[in-house]
Symmetry: C2
Subunit: 409 residues, 2 copies
């Protein structure tokens, strides 16, 4: 016996399917994969490319000690304002302001959140309601589309060019403008882009900022990976553009490059009216980012000298080696300019890509995320988070190539 | 220049006003309170009754060590399933099942959440959508009403009797049935009740369970404080009733009695279909309760022998002393049967209660929460969380009484 609400919620939650989401693979029904197997199981260290390996790249030095300090601070640190402890916000506002090229008011323009996922949820909750048209770049982080739908908004897809000539890379600005002209009120996107690792060019960012200002579009820009910028690349922060939209939220967090995901910390900064809404929403969502954990943010943008450079160098070496392996096997793959995501394209296979991905896990001990999580049209691509042990990642990439060859059409 | 969405969201977020919420007092504009002051400022140790003092009642022994263990476990603990690490759920399901009188499937019927607030958000998100009628007890936890409105539901108030003869205490079952008969699909309530400390009688719980089953109403019961049960009191778990609603979620967490709020941990258990929805929602809200923190749940319902009894005894002593002070001053106050909330009623004052509460903070160094947070009609009551240093709490209660006398009509 189902009530009206239950039926309508069944529908709503269908759009939130999480069984292919990174980290949830353990909950999948594997079915009878062995009957589909070509060849034997492959030997090798299992690699889970669905997220970074914080054992291979451990948390920032001093992060645990900062937590301990928070715990020992006691009640004051356990019960912070919903937007986060004021002292921590003050230091953070200064460092994030310096990084992104524009000052941030610790009192009014910054909120500490439970991870960047938390920041994204609050930012979309503060800007999207029933019927709001939201421009969503494709491919992009899978939660963007789900969040828009959850809040009752309508997804207006805008393609990202990331194949072919690098000079053409970037969001389709004509389609973006067309979307803005036909009632789109919000734009959400990530740069570096998840899943391709593409960094939006300065000219794209300037254009987006101007168009959003002109059409009064609220912009949410997810810059989660902007610190891990590879040699020779340039990063442009939207919030430092001269012409800016009235409503702009920038999202960052220390879960990736800094390997602090186990602490669930993030930050959003920008338009004070939106930050205020985000805090009101946080108050009913989970009150605050865990109080003791917030203290760990004092280590953020304050790492030991040389630490970040080394981390970037190590990731760049893995990136280059993987690109070589995939390209040698004929799998097209854009060069990630920042971050640790790689998005190779598979050749036509005899089995559908979702089954291939399950077989990869079952037969080759490699876990990765299907392209469909990032755009409906990306079913022939796979996303890897290559923040992994160098040797294990390369061996696993070799197994992926072998598997591709076994199941190739 | 505001868009359609911004105007509609302004309206939506107005209902989420958090400036009187516990812990947010520091963000209030105090205005010119000194001109309203009668008499001088009062001396004394500041007491913040808006939440428990985890310095006076420190976190469970071993909680920090459990966190450390989680951190040292590394990647496996940083990236758990969205519903929480399986090993931790297994232990927890067993202990929570034993406590609430009915077995819980660790795989299907339990989710670990960022605090009980997180559990409540997910549970209402899984059951309430646009137009859903939700029975909300008044007074009850302030977020209940806000959450219903946020998800687009309609609040159907059901009064709780907590004044007068204790034999009459409890929810108004006639009004509850009337609400169920006229299309209410969800009921949310807390027992022990926040803010009064009232424990629902076994007969009330049985009646609620039966009525909900009969009318196909989903029930969310917040049992946050059910462990801190005072001498002679009996607690009935709805989930152990013989006749039960098809959809039932029970919420608990270690933030209060166990003083683990700084870790942001909670749990929800019950109907697997709802737990599944809650996990899907959690995946876009903040992924998971902080991974390392989850490990702290291994200390929950596993405290050293005698620890809980002592904690209850100490709170009972504070409760009794505060009741004596308030009653001697003529402030009616129901006896809390569990938990650490007290909800005294103020006599008529020359100033409005919100101003009185701001003056209390400014003039008498006492922070507490206005009754309007719990029900629109409770403006003449104040809520205290008396999990405080014993002597400081008594002295602060003395200052409240003095302040009442200064501003009495």
């Amino acid at each position: 016996m189902k009530t009206r609400t239950m039926i309508s919620l069944d529908e709503k939650f269908k759009a939130l399917g999480a069984e292919n989401a990174p980290g949830q693979e353990g909950r999948q029904e594997t079915g009878d994969l062995s009957s589909l197997m070509r060849g034997e199981k492959m030997e090798g260290i299992p690699v889970d490319f669905s997220h970074g390996d914080v054992d291979a790249f451990p948390p920032t030095p001093g992060s645990f000690e900062a937590f301990k300090d928070g715990f020992e601070t006691g009640g004051k640190q356990a019960y912070t304002e919903y937007r986060g402890a004021v002292q921590i916000r003050e230091g953070l506002a200064e460092r994030l302001g310096a990084f992104t090229g524009k000052a941030i008011s610790a009192d009014k323009e910054l909120i500490i959140t439970p991870g960047t996922q938390g920041a994204l949820f609050l930012a979309l909750g503060a800007t999207v309601t029933s019927g709001t048209k939201v421009a969503v770049v494709e491919p992009d982080y899978f939660a963007n589309r789900k969040l828009v739908k959850f809040f009752g908004g309508e997804v207006v897809p805008v393609p990202l060019h990331y194949q072919g000539a690098p000079s053409e890379y970037g969001p389709d600005l004509n389609q973006l403008e067309a979307a803005f002209e036909s009632g789109t009120e919000v734009l959400v996107f990530s740069t570096p882009n998840n899943p391709t690792g593409l960094v939006y060019k300065g000219s794209s960012i300037q254009a987006i900022s101007k168009l959003a200002a002109k059409h009064n579009v609220s912009v949410i820009v997810d810059q989660l990976y902007s610190r891990m910028l590879y040699s020779g690349e340039v990063y442009t922060h939207l919030r430092s553009c001269e012409i800016q939209p009235e409503n702009l939220i920038t999202i960052m967090g220390p879960s990736k490059t800094e390997s602090l995901s186990g602490f669930r910390l993030g930050a959003a900064f920008g338009t004070s009216g939106l930050i205020d809404r985000m805090e009101r929403l946080q108050a009913i969502v989970s009150l605050r980012a865990a109080g003791y954990n917030q203290k760990v943010l004092e280590t953020w943008f304050a790492e030991p000298s040389g630490w970040m450079e080394k981390r970037i160098r190590e990731h760049e070496a893995i990136r280059d080696a993987l690109l070589e392996i995939f390209r040698a096997a004929g799998l097209p793959c854009a060069t990630p300019q920042a971050g640790s995501y790689l998005f190779p394209q598979l050749p036509p296979l005899d089995i559908d890509p979702h089954t291939f991905i399950r077989l990869l896990r079952y037969q080759a001990a490699v876990t990765l995320t299907p392209g469909t999580e990032f755009a409906p049209g990306c079913g022939d691509s796979i996303r890897l988070n290559f923040s992994q042990d160098h040797a294990a990642a390369l061996a696993a990439a070799g197994r992926i190539v072998k598997m591709v060859n076994r199941y190739r059409k």
